[in-house]
Symmetry: C3
Subunit: 334 residues, 3 copies
Amino acid sequence: MDDAVLSRRSLFAAGAVGLAVPAIGAAVSWNAGAAHAGATRKVTIYAEALPGGLFGYGLAPGQATVPGPLLEIYEGDTLEITLVNTTNQRLSIHAHGVDYSTSSDGSPLHASYNNPGETRTYVWRSREMFAAAGRRFMPGSAGYWHYHDHAMGTDHGTGGVAKGLYGGLIVRRRGDILPDRQFTVVFHDMTINNRMAPNTPIFEANLGERVEWVAIGHGNLFHTFHLHAHRWADNRTGMLESISDPSPTIDNKDLNPGSSFGFQVLAGEGVGPGAWMYHCHVQNHSDGGMSGIFLVRNADGSMPPGAEEAIHRFQGHTHTTTSQSHDDHGGHGA
Amino acid sequence: MDDAVLSRRSLFAAGAVGLAVPAIGAAVSWNAGAAHAGATRKVTIYAEALPGGLFGYGLAPGQATVPGPLLEIYEGDTLEITLVNTTNQRLSIHAHGVDYSTSSDGSPLHASYNNPGETRTYVWRSREMFAAAGRRFMPGSAGYWHYHDHAMGTDHGTGGVAKGLYGGLIVRRRGDILPDRQFTVVFHDMTINNRMAPNTPIFEANLGERVEWVAIGHGNLFHTFHLHAHRWADNRTGMLESISDPSPTIDNKDLNPGSSFGFQVLAGEGVGPGAWMYHCHVQNHSDGGMSGIFLVRNADGSMPPGAEEAIHRFQGHTHTTTSQSHDDHGGHGA
Amino acid sequence: MDDAVLSRRSLFAAGAVGLAVPAIGAAVSWNAGAAHAGATRKVTIYAEALPGGLFGYGLAPGQATVPGPLLEIYEGDTLEITLVNTTNQRLSIHAHGVDYSTSSDGSPLHASYNNPGETRTYVWRSREMFAAAGRRFMPGSAGYWHYHDHAMGTDHGTGGVAKGLYGGLIVRRRGDILPDRQFTVVFHDMTINNRMAPNTPIFEANLGERVEWVAIGHGNLFHTFHLHAHRWADNRTGMLESISDPSPTIDNKDLNPGSSFGFQVLAGEGVGPGAWMYHCHVQNHSDGGMSGIFLVRNADGSMPPGAEEAIHRFQGHTHTTTSQSHDDHGGHGA
C-alpha cells in the first residue's frame, strides 16, 4: 500500500439481533488523500479460488470475496494494481471507465493477463474533464464503474465473470458528497453477487445514513434493479445537480451485462426504518431468487418493529427456483 | 372521495367513423386542487375479476379495467387508497416513486396485502426536492410512475401482474404543463395492456392536442417502445427544460419490467393527422402482436384521408402470433 | 443530387500493413451547406440484392452496402429520397427522428413502400426546437437516428432488417462539432453489421482524431455496446454540454432493437494507439462473434507496436459460435 489513508470498511457485521449475514465486502478508498491531486495509489489484489467453484479478488491472501473489494479514487489519480494470481487458471483484471495502455487492458487480445501463479501489474489512470469547443467538455473519468476478469475461460473472461471475478470501482469528482455506507450489488444471470434468495446479501444501515449503492450487471441475461421505498435521479450522482436538472427520478433501472450505475439515498428517509426489499423486477428473476433485503435500522442501530418478522419471512420464502450450479443453498452466509 | 376536484376522463370513445374501441381507461387527478399544497387525497379502488381470467383495478364496483385508472397527484400530496378486494385471491397495491411505510408496501414480506374479500388502506406520500449539499438536491417524488399487485401468485405479485393488476401514477411538480389527453401503455410479455394486435388500444387525439403518454413495462421480456412520427426528450418531462438541456431526443426507448417513463407530444405536429403506429421495436414482438394505432384526427375531430383504410389494414393484419392464453382474439374491444 | 456539397467518405481503406478490411461504408453529408438553413437535399438510394442473401442500400447502382450510407443533415433541412428498388421484393425506407407524412412513413399500414422494381420518393423534414411554455422547449430533430426497411417479409420489415436494409441518420444542431471520422455500428441479433468475428468491421483512425460512432440496435435480442479505453457522456452529443452537465459518463450502453445513439471520442486520447476492442458485453454474444477492432494508429498513420499481433490474434480467435445463416465465414472482407 502507499502512504495514503486506507480504510477497509467491513460492509457487513452481525446485527444486533444476531442475524447471520455474510461478510462479503471490503473497500479501499483514498478519500482522505483527496487534497493532493494526481497521486499514484498502489494496491495488491489476490485472485483466489473459493469454495463452491467460485473465484474472488481480495486485498490480502485468504480474503477474496464475491464481489471483490470496492475500489475508489479521485479524478486525476492513478491506480497501480499488482494482481497476484494464486489460482491454476489464466485470469486478469479489466477496468471500465479509466485510462490504460494496451498492456493493462486485461484482455488476451493484448496478451494482458496473468498465467497461473503469475503476478502482473495493471495501471489505471484517471483525469478531469477538459475543454472541447464552445462551452463543451470531453468527459473526465468520474463515474460508478467496475472491474472484472477478461481472460478466464474465453477471450472475454466469461468463465471468470461467471465464477465471481468482478467488483466495483468509483472515480469521484472533487466536491462529491461522501457516503456513510457503500453496497455493491451485482446482477449476474439468475443471481445477486452469485447468490440466490434467501442467501442474497442483507445490506444494513441506520435511519438517515447516507448510503451509496453501486449496481453492476454481468452475464447473459437482462435485468432491472428495483429498490423499495427509495429513489434517485437518473444522472451521474443520483442527486439533482441543480433546481433545473432535467434528469428523471427513478426507482427501477436496466442493469444489463457490462453496465453499472450508482446513487446515494438517505436510508429510510420519509418512509421510516424497516426491512425494505431490493430485487430484479423481471418477474421470473425475482421469483427465482433475485431478491434481497435492505435493512434500515432505527437511528440508534436497534431493530425496528416488524423487521425481524420480515427477514424471517424472507428466509422461509419459497422460490420457483431456476437453480444455478454455482449457488450454495445451505446456510445464510459464509 | 375527498373534497378536491375529481375528473374522470374517459380516454376512449367511439370514433366518428364508428370504430369499436375499448373503453379501457379512466383517470383520477386533482389538478384543480394544486393551489393548496400537501393535501390528502382519498380514493377507493376495487380489485375485481374480469372476463377471460383477467383482473383489474377500478374506481367503482364493476368498472375495473386493464390497465387500472391513471392516478395523478402533485408533489407534497398524500394519496390514501382504500383497496376493496372483491376477488377470491390474495392481492395488494404496490406503488413506485412515492413514500410509504412498510405496512403500505403492498408485499407479503410485510404482510401488506388484502386477503380475499378484505378491504385495506394504503397510504402513499410525496414530497418536493430538498437540499443535499452545495447546489445539489435529493430528488422529490415527481415522475411518471406506476402501481401494481405485489401479492397474487408469488411474493412478487407475478400472478396479479400477469393478469392485469397494474396502472399508471403521475406525480407532478408544480408548474408542469398539463396535457389534453393521457394514454397508459403497458408493454407486458407479448401484449400491450394485455391485448394483442389487432385488439390493442387505438389511442385518439385531434391534431395539435397535447398528448401525454405513460409507458410501463411488466413481465418477463425486454421491450422497446417506438412511436412513429413523434419524438421526445429523454428526461423527466419529455421536453427540453432549457435551451442548453443536454438530454438526447428519442423516439424509441427501452421499456423493461418495473420501468416507466412519460412524455408529452403535440399530436401530428409537423407531420399531420393520420393513423400513426406505436409498437415494440423488437421485431418478433411487433410481428407477434405488440403494435397499435395512435389515431391523430383532424383538428375538428373528423377523420383524415387514409386513416380508415390504414385502420382496416391494421385490423386485417396477419400476425405470426405467439399466442397468449390470457388474450382474447375475438372482437375489437370490451 | 442537389447543388449542395456532397462528400463521400470511404470509411475503410486497406491499411498500411496490408490488412484486408471491407469497404462497407459511405456517407452523404451536407455540412458545407450548413450556412443556408432549411435547404432541401435530394438523394437517390438504390436498394439491391447482395451476395449471401443480403440486401443493402447504396448511393449508386452496384454500390449497396450493409449498413447503408450514413446520411447527415442539419436541423431545418429536408431530405428527399428517391428510392430505387432493384430487387424482386416489396421494401421501403422508414426513418427515425424526422418528420414525414403518412405517405413517407415507409410502412405497409399506409401503403408506403416500393413494389419490386418500383421507384418511389420519401420526404423527411427536420426542425429546430420551439418554445413550449415557461423556459421549456419541444425538442427539435437533432439526434443520432437511423433508417431501415419497414415492408419486406412482414408489415414491420422484419425480413429487410434481418438481411441488412438499415443505416445511420444524423441530424445536427447548428454549432455541433464535426468529426474527422464516422463509424456506423449495428448490433443485430448475433451480428455486428450482419457480420461475425473475425469478419466484423475494423474501424480505423489516427491518434487524436475526432471519431464519431453511430450505434444502432436491430432484431430480436438485447445487447450492450462496450468500447475499450474510451468513454462518453450519456447525453445528446457524448460531450458534457457545460461544467454542470449532470449526465453520467459511460463506456457500456444498452443497444436494443430500434434504439440508436452516437458520441464522439478522441481516438486513443489518454490511452495511446492500439487495436482496441469494441464488443457486445452480453457474454455469450461477445463469445459468439459480436466483437470487433477499433484500430487507433499512430498520429502519422503508421501501425503502433503490438497492433498487428493483436489483430492476428483476433483473426485467429476461436469462437463458441452460434452461427447465423446470413453470415459469411470465408475471408476478411468483401
